[in-house]
């Protein structure tokens, strides 16, 4: 059974629903990310779990216990804020000890636990510093230590790295993942940064307009997006609306304007019942009509725009099925207006809903 589950939860601000009939379940010890554009409801979901927001309808269960009406200060969850939210009037030591003092832990034990957790986030020796004397990365580590030291039942991150610079973001996310795995704490992580979510999560939930479009392992989402939204979000820029499909075993034959395409049904392809084909710019093969023979999975068109990407050239090709973006590594690029042929490999064409 799942450790955490949200069942048909609704959240509304002034009669406008942010989440409606929202379901989510998380297994013990996992790190799950909520990923999506701003306004998709990911932060609302996190704040609901934390207890900062109250559900209008629905249930929130943790370990089989109903948490829906338990106030935030009785939940024992660690929350790490985007802007760290350290107590400015307290030293690093007192910041971390705050939660333990509220729990009436004895001073010697507090000392021992604070020392241990500051060690774990590599901040030993910083006990007497005040937050304003720390760098952004150090503040975030204090924030993590402060959330960890209370031995929370859940660890919640709200875009914890978005205020840090690029290099620090990468090392901090590795750090977060390491600590999370070492302690085996069930964690929910909100971000709008794809790479961040995909690199550290056991599972990723891609959210849009208050619903989860897809919840799966990062690699599975990356390879087999379920819906058009997810596909677009992770870089499938090309879509074809097919009029007909016929399945024979693992082979799917598709038709659009009498052009025939083939796709392979893969067990991981979660949107396999859809009629929309999606493919990444890198996966379309581009060539002159001489190089690529006309046939199944091919489409002829003219180059409209050509841009240089560094390693390869990117072309926008206008065809009878719309325009497609394709990348190709080559010495001398195709010219604008030149006739080219596109080939959609059947193992790269993914069906989405």
């Amino acid at each position: 059974m799942a450790l955490l589950s949200l069942e048909k939860v609704s959240v509304a601000y002034e009669n406008q629903y942010i989440l409606q009939n929202f379901d989510l379940s998380v297994e013990k010890g996992q790190l799950i990310s909520l990923l999506g554009p701003s306004g998709c409801g990911k932060t609302t979901t996190l704040r609901l779990i934390a207890g900062f927001l109250e559900a209008k309808e629905g249930k929130f269960l943790l370990n089989g216990k109903d948490y829906t009406r338990i106030p935030v200060n009785k939940r024992n969850f660690g929350f790490v804020f985007q802007n760290y939210a350290l107590f400015p009037h307290l030293s690093v030591y007192d910041n971390v000890a705050f939660g333990l003092r509220l729990r009436k832990v004895k001073e010697p034990e507090i000392r021992q636990r604070v020392t241990k957790v500051l060690d774990a986030v590599s901040l030993a020796g910083f006990e007497q510093r005040f937050p304003k004397a720390l760098s952004g990365g150090q503040r975030q580590r204090v924030a993590i230590a402060r959330a960890l030291v209370i031995e929370p039942d859940l660890l919640l991150f709200d875009e914890p790295l978005s205020n840090l610079d690029a290099n620090l973001r990468v090392s901090m996310r590795v750090e977060i993942r390491r600590i999370q795995q070492e302690l085996g704490i069930t964690t929910i992580y909100v971000s709008h940064d794809q790479e961040e979510c995909f690199s550290i999560s056991d599972r990723v939930a891609i959210m849009n307009k208050g619903i989860i479009e897809q919840l799966d392992r990062p690699a599975a989402i990356f390879k087999y997006p379920k819906t058009e939204f997810v596909a677009r979000f992770i870089g499938f820029n090309n879509f074809i609306d097919f009029e007909q499909r016929s399945d024979s075993g693992d082979e799917i034959e598709l038709k659009a304007k009498d052009r025939i395409f083939r796709a392979v049904r893969h067990p991981g392809m979660s949107g396999a019942n859809g009629r929309k084909g999606a493919i990444r710019p890198d996966d379309i093969v581009v060539g002159t009509p001489e190089e690529i023979e006309a046939g199944v999975g091919c489409l002829t068109g003219r180059v409209k725009v050509s841009t240089f990407l560094g390693r390869s050239y990117q072309y926008v090709v206008e065809t009878e099925l719309g325009s497609f973006t394709a990348n190709k590594e080559m010495e001398s690029p195709f010219l604008s207006g030149q006739e080219v042929r596109l080939f959609f490999p059947r193992e790269k064409l993914v069906l989405v809903e």
Binding site: N73, L86, H89
Partner: protein, 262 residues
């Protein structure tokens, strides 16, 4: 350019002269040895300063003023801090209107407020004079407390309070252990500025004082109606000194720009 600067400098000098001139005149004439207020003074003497402490009414009303300002301040804090917290943290109907009232304490003329309170508190409800005076001064101070504490709270990140809640602190614990220590200097500044406002107040006090109960500024008014010796100048100098010290403390705590912005 050079010419222009000199003109501007002269103008600034005139403005300062206009502002500070009367104060300088009062300060200097307080040292007049004669029995009539004169400028420039004909000599140097501290006898009028000494006299302040010999006139019983001054000492008595000074004590009343102190008591009313300090006690009223306490009440204004007890009412004002929760009000400021609510205004800055929770959305509710009529909040903007309330804010407008609190943010413009100078909107209602003191005379009108004083007269209304006289009618309401003393004439209608027969409140004892001392109590009425206290209520009046609490009302005078409240907007200043709310305004200053509110802008102090506006600068304090709400996420920090949420952090305390998530670590297990209740609402009250969060307020006393996290919010209060961080708006401490704002509260001290609010207390000082409200104190000055109340201590120097004439327009409310003039309606709320009565037989046997008076404040220092009212007593001073009465005094100048009857006497024209330099005692009044000496008291003024002491009050100015008190104000200057308090303003200096406020400036050190949070900067005076705190009150001029918005």
């Amino acid at each position: 350019m050079q010419e222009n600067n000199r003109g501007l400098g002269l103008f600034t000098l005139l403005v300062y002269l206009f502002l500070l001139g009367p104060l300088v005149i009062i300060a200097l004439s307080s040292f007049e040895p004669g029995t009539v207020l004169k400028f420039p003074p004909t000599g140097f003497s501290l006898r009028w300063y000494q006299k302040i402490f010999e006139v019983e009414m001054f000492m008595k009303t000074f004590k009343t003023s102190m008591a009313v300002s300090l006690l009223g301040n306490l009440f204004a804090l007890l009412l004002g801090i929760p009000a400021a917290y609510a205004l800055s943290r929770f959305p509710f109907k009529g909040k903007d209107a309330l804010n407008a009232v609190f943010l413009s304490p100078v909107l209602i003329p003191g005379i009108v407020l004083g007269f209304t309170m006289l009618k309401f508190l003393i004439v209608t409800y027969h409140l004892p004079i001392y109590t009425g005076l206290l209520v009046g001064h609490t009302v005078v101070m409240l907007p200043f407390i709310i305004r200053v504490v509110e802008s102090s709270l506006a600068n304090f990140d709400f996420a920090v309070e949420e952090a305390a809640l998530s670590l297990g602190a209740g609402r009250l614990q969060t307020f006393f252990r996290v919010v209060l220590p961080n708006i401490k200097s704002g509260i001290i500044a609010a207390v000082l500025i409200a104190f000055l406002e109340s201590f120097n107040n004439v327009d409310i006090s003039v309606f709320m004082t009565g037989p046997g109960v008076s404040t220092l500024p009212i007593q001073m008014l009465t005094y100048v109606e009857n006497y024209f010796d330099p005692t009044i100048a000496a008291i003024s100098v002491l009050l100015m000194a008190l104000t200057a010290v308090l303003m200096f403390v406020i400036e050190r705590l949070m900067g005076l720009s705190y009150f001029t912005k918005r």
